[in-house]
């Protein structure tokens, strides 16, 4: 497969579209009500302009391209101290806006190509990918450990390689290997079983989506797993009748929807297959009256928008040919694919739930702090950033924070523990599983 993954030089013209105006530094809404808050986790933590939103990262990109900056430990560290959350991108209004995360990741790709990246602590991610096909150094047999309760309850989950199913539940490595996040696949599979969805999993044959490799700049490892996955999806569709790939993992969802689309054979590989996040799958059933929610959960909850299911799914409108404004002009964006309303609608549909919104939501959601390889590379900072988000959630008076990403799940719970907060993060599927009538 051919891939359209840009190198830094190819993005040079975009890099020079940044004025360094600093609009990217603050999440600001004119309102009413008028709101202003930090948006860049790295900027808030480290402060210097180099760390501050896209303004600083673009400076590094300029310097690397012009030869005024050369790799050293400190520069490398600064480039990896970014969650690639795209909060800065949401603020920017200039022509390079659509390319900001791409520019940051292109610097990381250059670092990897030049043999200096990623950070030493992140190298184990790609080493693990090569050895185990997952970033957690987990033997493949462990990948299905979360399914044990189902076997025990004599409700085994189909192995889609052995038994055909219409829906492939792509679990993702975090849900499978990260113990605290295993509640996410457990709840997802439980819901599907209760609803009678004909689904199966790849089990021990599932391999990583490659998202983490892409985020830290290892494009070759990303391409390897992505191509293998695309071939698997195509085979399952042709041979097993898979029509839908559903995932509860925000990172996998973004990777398959967005990163994989950079492959030349993407459209053909996914021809006849719909890729959908679990919450959208459930929301569609809710609209059709096929999601019976019973009982009550009398909790006040706040909702955290993951970057991967939110602004990362923006579609940018660019005047490629210069027919409307000028060549390469940023015209606007389409948020149609961003999962902002759907999780909220589902939450509101759960009897007893009271949704209390934080100040920074939707496109201005404040990153949990774990993305972009930061959880592995800078665990302490990732958790301290999550603590900030948990504190923001607590200010709403909510008892729980809810999200739809196993990565956020793990990191925000770490953040809560760090500040001894009573607030806990739950995945939306965990709540829905509670109010879906049991099979018995």
């Amino acid at each position: 497969m051919d891939w359209k993954i840009s190198d830094l030089k190819e993005l040079e013209d975009k890099i020079w579209r940044c004025t360094a105006c600093g609009t990217c530094k603050v999440a600001y809404e004119y309102g009413p009500p008028t709101r202003s808050a930090d948006i860049c986790p790295a900027g808030a933590e480290f402060g210097f302009e180099g760390f501050m939103a896209s303004k600083g990262k673009i400076a590094f990109a300029r310097g690397l391209l012009s030869g005024e900056l050369n790799w050293d430990e400190d520069l490398l560290d600064a480039i990896y101290k970014c969650t690639v959350c795209a909060g800065c991108q949401s603020q920017c209004q200039l022509d390079h806006k659509p390319f900001i995360p791409e520019i940051i990741e292109a610097m990381r790709r250059k670092a990897v190509e030049d043999g200096v990246g990623p950070m030493p602590s992140q190298k184990k991610i790609t080493q693990s990918l090569r050895s185990y096909n997952n970033p957690y150094q987990g033997p493949r047999r462990v990948r299905t450990d979360w399914t044990r309760p189902f076997k025990k309850a004599k409700r085994p989950i189909k192995d889609i390689n052995a038994e055909p199913a219409e829906v492939l539940y792509y679990v993702g490595c975090t849900g499978a290997f990260n113990l605290p996040a295993r509640s996410v696949p457990v709840a997802t599979a439980s819901i599907f079983q209760k609803l009678g969805v004909d689904f199966g999993i790849l089990g021990e044959n599932e391999i990583c989506c490659g998202s983490t490799a892409m985020r830290i700049g290892d494009a070759s490892e990303f391409k390897r797993v992505a191509e293998e996955n695309l071939h698997t999806f195509q085979r399952l569709h042709k041979e097993g009748g898979v029509k839908t790939i559903v995932t509860s993992c925000a990172g996998c969802y973004r990777a398959i929807k967005k990163d994989y689309s950079l492959a030349s054979g993407y459209t053909e590989a996914l021809d006849g297959i719909k890729v959908i996040h679990t919450v959208e799958f459930l929301y569609n059933l809710l609209k059709e009256g096929k999601l019976p929610l019973e009982g009550s959960i009398p909790w006040k909850v706040t909702y955290h928008d993951p970057c991967h299911t939110g602004r990362h799914l923006n579609k940018f409108i660019i005047d490629e040919e210069g027919s409307q404004l000028w060549k390469g002009a940023y015209i606007g964006l389409n948020e149609e694919e961003c999962l902002y309303d759907i999780p909220r609608e589902l939450l509101k549909a759960i009897p007893g739930i009271e949704l209390k919104e934080m100040g920074r939501i939707r496109a201005n959601s404040y990153c949990c702090g774990g993305g972009g390889g930061v959880m592995t590379g800078y665990g302490e900072w990732a958790a301290s950033n999550a603590s900030k988000r948990i504190s923001e959630g607590m200010e709403t008076g909510a008892d729980y924070m809810v999200s739809i990403c196993p990565f956020c799940h793990y990191n925000l719970n770490e953040g809560a523990k760090r500040i001894e907060s009573p607030m806990k993060l739950l995945d939306l599927v965990e709540l829905i599983d509670r109010v879906l009538p049991s099979l018995d």
């Binding site: 013209d13 020079w16 579209r17 940044c18 004025t19 360094a20 105006c21 600093g22 609009t23 530094k25 603050v26 600001y28 004119y30 309102g31 009413p32 009500p33 008028t34 709101r35 202003s36 480290f46 402060g47 210097f48 302009e49 180099g50 501050m52 303004k55 600083g56 400076a59 590094f60 310097g63 005024e68 900056l69 050293d72 400190d74 520069l75 600064a78 603020q91 209004q93 200039l94 022509d95 404004l325 000028w326 002009a329 940023y330």
Partner: protein
């Protein structure tokens, strides 16, 4: 600078502000070496981020002892290269001093630290029904830097310049002492006025950070009347626009009274120059008014209609017009990150924007504009000019926002030459540039009264005997 010395200086700075808040790393310094303007990038040697007044004192005392240049920095959003170090040294990034110390909704005074952004203050004032005159700049820009640099805002026609809103200040001198000007100098709790004492705040306003670091600033804030009415007109030439603005300004009903040329009314500004369609008017104006009651609003409408009639009777080409809604929002919903950001004007150019930004007698606006138009078009640049009337006087801001392609040295130099040429024209007609880059300072000094220059140098030498504060920015 010798590496060993550099290491020792970083250690010293870290002992003042903490290890994580001082660095000499090249990539960090690089991010402070350029801005939007045509000013050539120059590297600082160090960057520090103090969070207390005592730390600022520590930095300045050390820098003064070691004769190391110091450049105060808040957001770096000016377009005159004001924080690009002429002689290296230490950038003092004040973004961590960002507390809103007090908002007194009864006295209509706020006390802020230098790192407070427009967005931050706007969000804090809104619940009180209060506002400040936000400039057409990014939300992250600093309130205090704009005010002490005589920046303009959206209420200039009603309350004057941002610097006229200053009520008190606390400053750390280049030699490390903390000083105060205004009422807070007599009573530390009183931040309401710089008068009736000698206006020592003048020692730090308009000096481009060359006399000290302002660490607290008292400013007037204002009630936000609920009823907005914007009067928009257009006309065929700058003389007619001047006539209209002069007439309307006499009634003092506007918060903002501004005229913009066709090229500036386009967002973004066309780059390179493109001719205006013949049928389009050359000038537009928006006059922003706020009223507390419907009756007050109607009275303002009556006055405006009267002015419009008078202008028509004079035979001018002034007529009421529709101003594009998005562009209008940019002028009224401030601070704004959408079209409100001045920096969005330069989208088409590509990264660069600079200006001849001046305070010019209103009666000279038309002749200056005509010359600027010739100069700018000859450089293939748009004559994207704005004229704004200040409070109750017949002078105001006259500026041209000039985008350019910063990736190209040739195009950057072309813009610089055109802008400096424009500035000379304005200076010769009595205008004075504000937030001037060094190129402008040199032109000012060429024309300055010798007594003025002598006084300027004496005051500077008194406050900053070792010339460490943003050296070179005053053009000497």
């Amino acid at each position: 600078m010798h590496a060993r010395n550099k290491e020792l200086i970083v250690k010293e700075l870290q002992s003042i502000v903490g290890e994580k808040n001082a660095t000499g790393a090249k990539h960090i310094c690089y991010a402070y070496s350029y801005d939007l303007s045509f000013v050539k990038p120059k590297l600082p040697d160090f960057v520090v981020m103090p969070s207390t007044v005592e730390q600022v004192q520590g930095i300045l005392t050390f820098a003064n002892k070691e004769r190391i240049p110091v450049v105060p920095y808040t957001a770096g959003t000016n377009i005159g290269g004001l924080t690009i170090p002429e002689r290296g040294g230490i950038i003092v990034d004040l973004k961590r001093m960002n507390k809103i110390i007090e908002i007194d909704p009864e006295a209509l005074v706020a006390v802020i630290e230098p790192g407070v952004s427009h967005a931050q203050l706007a969000a804090a004032l809104a619940p009180h029904g209060l506002r400040f005159g936000w400039p057409v700049g990014p939300p992250s820009a600093s309130v205090s830097s704009c005010a002490i640099s005589h920046g303009i805002g959206g209420m200039n026609a009603r309350y004057g310049l941002q610097s006229q809103e200053i009520t008190s200040m606390e400053v750390v001198l280049p030699t490390g002492e903390v000083v105060r000007a205004g009422s807070c100098a007599i009573n530390p709790e009183a931040w309401h006025s710089v008068l009736p004492m000698p206006q020592l705040d003048g020692l730090f306003k308009g000096w481009l950070g060359t006399t000290g670091i302002v660490t607290k600033l008292g400013i007037n804030v204002h009630h936000s009347p609920p009823l907005l009415k914007i009067f928009t007109v257009c006309c065929d030439n700058v003389d007619d626009m001047y006539s209209y603005m002069l007439n309307l300004s006499n009634y003092e009903i506007c918060d903002d009274l501004t005229g913009v040329s066709w090229w500036l009314a386009q967002v973004p500004i066309p780059y390179p120059y493109k001719p205006k369609p013949e049928k389009d008017p050359e000038w537009f104006s928006y006059a922003t008014t706020y009223s507390f009651t419907q009756k007050e609003k109607e009275s303002k409408e009556e006055i405006w209609s009267l002015v419009l009639d008078q202008e028509k009777q004079k035979g001018t080409s002034i007529k009421e017009t529709h101003y594009p809604e998005e562009a209008l929002k940019a002028r009224t919903q401030l601070p704004s990150q959408i079209v409100g950001s001045t920096k969005n004007y330069c989208k088409q150019g590509g990264a660069g924007i600079s200006w001849p930004g001046t305070f010019t007698p209103a009666k000279k606006w038309a002749p200056v504009y005509k010359k600027w138009k010739e100069i700018l078009i000859s450089h293939n640049l748009s004559p994207s000019v704005r004229m704004s009337m200040y409070r109750g006087v017949h002078y105001g801001m006259l500026r041209a926002m000039i985008p350019f392609n910063k990736q190209s040295e040739k195009e950057t130099e072309n813009a610089r030459q055109a802008i400096v040429e424009c500035l000379r024209v304005d200076l010769d007609m009595g205008g004075i540039p504000y937030k001037p880059p060094v190129d402008f300072a040199v032109e000012i000094n060429k024309r300055a009264h010798q007594g003025y220059l002598m006084l300027l140098k004496k005051v500077k030498a008194m406050l900053d005997p070792n010339d460490i504060m943003n050296p070179g920015k005053l053009g000497f």
